[in-house]
Amino acid sequence: MSKHGIINWLHRTFFASPAHRFAIASVLLLITLAIAPTKDFFNEWRHFQRQYVSFLSSRQDGAALKRQFTGGIQQIWLPELNVVDRCTTCHLAITEKILQGAAGIPEPYRAHPPAGHNVKEWGCVVCHRGQGPATEVAEAHNATRAWEQPLLPVKFIQASCGSCHHGELPEAPQLARGRELLSRLNCQGCHKLNNLETASLGPDLSSVGYKVSRAWIYKWLKEPRTVLDKDGNTTVNGYESGDESRMPQYRLSEPELLSLSAFLSVQKARPIEPYKINPSVVAAWSKKPDLISQGEERFRELMCTTCHPVAVTRAGEAKLIGGNIAPEITKVGSKVNEDWLVSWLHNPQAYLAHAEMPRYGWTDEELYKVSQYVMSKLTDSDLLTPVPQLGAPSDEDIKNGKRIFLEKGCATCHSLQEILPQKDFGPDLTAMGAKNTSELDFGKSKAPHNLISYLQTKLKDPASVNPTARMPQYTWNQADLDAVTTALLSQTGKPATSALQQLVVPKKPASFQAIGAFATVYERYKCYACHRFNGYGGTLAPDLTFEGSLAQKKWIFDFLKNPQTVRPALILRMPQFNMTDKEASILADYLSLAVQNPAVDPESVDPRQFTPAMVVTGKALYQTKYQCQSCHTIGGSGGYVGPNLNNAGNWLTPAWIEGWLRNPQALQPDTIEPRRDFTEEEIRALTAYLMTLRVGITKPSAKSAANAHPIAQGAGR
């Protein structure tokens, strides 16, 4: 009843007459009309703008900024990028130079430090993601129900570079490392991915039965490592040293291990070409007490560790030394059959057509010494102890093994007779980096529900988000995990607009066609496995794109015949291939004529015009005015950041030295040698001096090679 009473009372008081009713309706209408302006007045961004004005008043240099300030929603509109960016509504000083780097400035008023892209031209969301048109803090920065793309944590910001810059970008090393890992681990074997180098595949297994035993295959499938640490039980963590094994670990059950090892151990498609070492050599050497130590010495001289990592114990700590472009061989003697090893060393391509191992010019004596050393010293008698007695493979095992080979996707990396490569075995990841959280299946994982946490959880343990995942187990250190995450986040699919497509910086196509007699020698020694020509090839050794302009032909020939003489400071050195004179001169002729820099004209400098006075001046400039010895060594003293110049007169061409002194980056963009203000007279004098530096060639002993200084980075760059 009382409720009724109140309504009646309200009715009597306010609605008694039409005039009352009209008045009340008007008031309510006014209030309704006032809602929008009031809301607007109390908006978050107005609050930040008012605070900005008072912040500017607190600064001595704020007056000018205050005069420039105009309130209201600020917007950067980039129709060609499909971007509306209102971030500057609150981040008002983002482009103010005055505030750049000044201390104690609170967000959101900090200025952006100078970046590759001007913020005024590009806005914020192109790199940082988030919702550009939003005018509320939460909607702009965080994921909401309507907008699932939050800000990219800045740790992964290089992913944004990669969305448009499809080629190499020196400013984004984390992205580059991530892309390198994606192709090194052959993620493209299963997944579709964009902008990567051609993947490197695992070895062809068609004849693996000749190479290794079933027991070794079993061990490898279970735990794909061979290196043990000083205690003999745990593996050296190659991931810390960057020498990770490329084979991931599959979660295989005992019967699966038995079947798969049985199937692989009977793969004997192409019989190995047995190479018989001359029996008289064997007879003469097998009884020598120093056979193994001589083999070791030769092994060192051949610089096998330039490509193959080997585990050593230094100061009580096991670690891998050597290059990382070939398999780790610390225990290879317990892995391969001796016959296979000899024929492999003699001619790797006979076993594996795509092998990048060069074909050395062995003498029987060397081949015997080195293979004996490998089989007796690079071993571990405990390597196969955890493997059960396997016996002969049964037909049933072999049949099951083939099925598992296909089920597990082994053919995505390894080729095998009669089995076709398994393309698109895993999901397409070309748009993974732009996925919404609602599209991701976290399964029973307790990981936070966002894209980055999904990627990292999946990469760390694929089974945690999906117990039936076919993806194998990789081991990452945190830096590599972040790098791969960055590279995956950069896979944002096709650009949203055609204008955006035009802004994409594509990858430079790299090709180098070796021709004629040169091609034969180049292929035999696999020069491209370590050296880069015109953007094509490895990066372990110096880029040879302009070698013909840089080095004298005679020097190239001498170097190829005896490569141990150039930079005694390096531990990763060019192996001695035992090249014939003919092969060395084919390479020297071709390199000196065909791989030249057009900017270096060999005719432009005539060494005959160098006078002794120039040499004296040049030496003074080198030693006193410019103090080049801070980085370069001449004689016994100087730095070892740059190459040793002891033999510059025999090594470098005068035209190259002059061009280099004028502008090193013009000849080699990534060189760290600073460009200086030499006068033309100074350049001539320095060249005259450097051309007088010559030493005779002596062959260093294996001992000095072993003790060589490992600094490699600066040399030759």
Partner: protein, 163 residues
């Protein structure tokens, strides 16, 4: 009866007004924008490897430039192993040597890197990088040096706070 309905409608209207206004002035502080802050990269404290120093955008760029160009002489360990530092006289300062570098202004450091040691009456062993690195890259290297300095570097000048 009609007017009673009108009354109820108007009451509802006022409630809606209040509801609509209640959306105003959400506290911005309650929203977590931590994703945007955080570090672009980190660098271990050279005197205490367990401590990681977070780096901002410019400092992270500086780290990249430092490890490409400067590390060979301004650190005791380099990516390739030992350092060239001990080969030089006078021995160049470590990049994190706050005692030596905190006292030098950004302008001086910029000049030193741009023009080299001899232009400023210092050792000619420090070459000029003005034609190799951009002013922004040099600035970035300085900000990296400031970030990892031990003892820590204090920015000169007024400290600003908002009211």
């Amino acid at each position: 009866m009609k007017s009673k309905l009108l009354l109820i409608a108007m009451l509802l209207c006022s409630v809606l007004c209040v509801l609509a206004l209640s959306g105003c002035r959400k506290s911005a502080a309650a929203v977590n924008v931590g994703a945007a802050s955080g570090a672009y990269d980190t660098e271990p404290d050279w005197n205490d490897g367990a401590k990681l120093i977070p780096l901002g955008y410019q400092e992270a760029q500086g780290k990249r430039v430092f490890y490409q160009y400067c590390v060979w002489c301004h650190a005791d360990a380099t990516p390739a192993g030992p350092s060239n530092r001990s080969n030089l006289t006078p021995v160049p300062p470590l990049i994190n040597d706050g005692e030596k570098l905190n006292g030098e202004s950004d302008e001086f450091m910029q000049k030193m890197i741009t023009l080299g040691g001899s232009a400023l009456g210092k050792s000619a062993m420090m070459p000029p990088y003005g034609k190799t690195l951009s002013p922004a890259e040099i600035k970035a290297v300085i900000s990296f040096a400031r970030a990892i300095a031990q003892p820590a570097y204090q920015k000169p000048g007024q400290q600003y706070t908002t009211k």
